[in-house]
Symmetry: C2
């Protein structure tokens, strides 16, 4: 039986493996989990004993097939619950994270199957992140950062990288949501800020904001 802590570590490693490539370092895990490197070392030994990860002293860790499937299933549950909260319980996209963080650990295959049915098999969560299927497979959408979009190109917002409440509220304030059409009409080279048109009005956004918005070009 896997514990809640083990699931959280596996999920962190799963995300880090995708973010970086190759082995995930102890410090990277400690940063993401907001814990100490020594705690990480303790835990990765346990996870390696249980065959969820490959761990070589001082060399970082990587998920085994078993670990990847387990982690993907936690992510699947997290994102399905986020959809439920937004679609059915009137949560906004900046309110779902902490609750999903708890709900993702509920153990019941039937529950998550039926939730999937009830939500009519959603493919993406409220932040535009893809929902892994039962086997841990995940659809790779061809999305790019808004900061990479060429001048005068039209694109659609399909996701966010930073999904902190602060950033999401900033987007809300400026009426940027998933599905919103965006046109880049100016780029400042000195600070890499850009002017965009949304809902027929102009908005200047910083490099940081542009970096954290995923779009699909038309």
């Amino acid at each position: 039986m896997i514990t809640l802590s083990e699931e959280n570590y596996l999920k962190a490693i799963y995300h880090l493996e995708r973010q970086m490539g190759g082995a995930v370092s102890t410090n990277a895990i400690a940063d993401k989990m907001e814990t100490k490197a020594s705690s990480v070392t303790d835990m990765v030994k346990k996870l390696a004993d249980k065959d969820y990860i490959i761990y070589k002293k001082y060399q970082g860790v990587s998920l085994t097939a078993k670990g990847n499937k387990t982690a993907a299933n936690v992510v699947r549950k997290h994102r399905l619950w986020e959809v439920f909260l937004v679609e059915k319980l009137n949560f906004s996209w900046d309110e779902v994270h902490d609750v999903a963080e708890q709900l993702e650990h509920i153990k019941s295959p039937k529950l998550i199957n039926e939730l999937d049915v009830f939500l009519e098999f959603p493919t993406h969560d409220p932040h535009g992140d893809p929902i892994p299927d039962k086997d841990g497979n995940i659809s790779k959408l061809d999305k790019i950062s808004l900061s990479k979009v060429a001048l005068n190109d039209l694109c659609t917002c399909v996701g966010v990288i930073d999904s902190s409440a602060e950033f999401l509220k900033y987007l809300d304030k400026h009426k940027i949501a998933l599905g919103t059409q965006i046109k880049v009409i100016e780029k400042e080279s000195f600070d890499e800020s850009m002017t965009i048109v949304i809902h027929n009005s102009e908005l200047n956004i910083s490099k940081t904001v542009a970096n954290n918005i995923y779009v699909k070009t038309h």
Copy 2:
């Protein structure tokens, strides 16, 4: 911050206080929680320190107002989730318990409020048990055990006492559900079994079965 274990103990004490009257003994809690008396002693000390219960050595425990409200809220969450599972996710009433046992510990006032709205403010769970309101108040329905019903009286099944999967499946097999009309047409005095009519057919049930069905007389 209250822990999952503390919540489970409070809930057990809450149910036992209702079942018996007066102080709840260490052994009664140990039985209900399927743990050892020594573990109970350890935990009741913590709960008393946190003002959830009154504990006098060797004299058992009783909930404080704070403890009662906290316990009732766990019960509220448990029962609302059970309604959700049955009404929305196609669970049957014998499948919900273990999952609700986990879901009841999710911490989010908004979640449980919105779930209540989404389910349209249910007053009872799938087993006929009343759902406490936000303040821990609970409606007392005038229900009695089927074994107490007089000969030839017509009544309606409104709940069960034993909500084990075994018993619930027995009821399913014999087409007894909440809302089912029941007429007692014969009582055997030697073993206290009885013959009832449901859906126009006769059925003989044991004393134990009759004891575990709650009904409302007409």
